[in-house]
């Protein structure tokens, strides 16, 4: 997605290749795979209490954005319209560079088993959708006292 049209240096290129190799050699990716270079980009992380998902979707109309969690599957779908659609219709406007995604999108992630579907929060700010899913309390590590 954030691919540059300008020449890059060798180190950055090798960095990218190394990362892609590591991802390709993952022995047990989830069955839905890891979609790369899709829109919107997603970062997933976690704390002991939560699963945090960041969806990078600038310029997406919140009215079209749908976030659904069902049986451990988180779906993020929506639509982004760009000014290019109008531009192509108008003969006096030329599109010189078209790198940004436009159209409908849908990305699906599997959440870990301890994610609690009842406790999900989603916040959209500056084009980043931040989803926090609480982990089930019973799944959290508990210290057992020894008498």
């Amino acid at each position: 997605m954030y691919r540059s049209l300008f020449p890059r240096d060798v180190f950055a290129e090798m960095d990218r290749l190394q990362r892609e190799m590591q991802q390709a050699l993952d022995l047990s990716p989830t069955i839905r795979g890891v979609a790369r270079n899709g829109f919107p980009a997603i970062n997933v992380g976690g704390t002991p209490q939560t699963v945090e998902i960041y969806v990078f979707a600038p310029g997406v109309d919140p009215a079209t954005l749908e976030v659904q969690l069902e049986r451990g599957l988180l779906t993020i779908a929506g639509e982004r319209k760009s000014a290019l659609a109008d531009a192509e219709a108008d003969a006096k406007v030329t599109a010189h560079i078209h790198e940004r995604f436009d159209g409908r999108f849908r990305r699906v992630l599997t959440l870990p088993d301890d994610a609690d579907p009842e406790a999900v929060e989603a916040r959209l700010r500056d084009g980043v959708l931040h989803i926090t899913v609480q982990r089930r309390a019973s799944a959290q590590p508990r210290r057992i006292a020894i008498h």
Partner: protein, 139 residues
Amino acid sequence: MRNDVQTTSRSPATTRQSGTPAADQPRYGDASLTPPVDVLEDAGGITLYADLPGVSREQLNLQVESDTLTIEAESNLSVPAGLTSSHTEVGLARFRRVFTLSKELDTERVSAELAQGVLKLRIPKARHAQPRRIEVQVA
């Protein structure tokens, strides 16, 4: 997704910074992502749209110098303490992109808007450079 990283050299000399391979450390101090852009041109000027997710007005730096337009920005995400990443598609919090502008663009009258992480820049053409219809006299 946005995994193409560019490095920039801040010093006047053209030496590039090269880092030693380290697992999770940012390798290059100046490394930044290249935001995708859409550029449209009409009779009045150029309109540029850039994806800068997580960037607010305070973190956006636009510079126009003679014929170069530089867009630099830092994104700001609310990250809880103790977060460990399991899948990263956007690995950096910095964006940078540079364009060379042509002479007929009026760099004094550039206007910019930033909303929902999308930057919209409007660079009008200098008045003398706008298309003018020339009357053809039939002899």
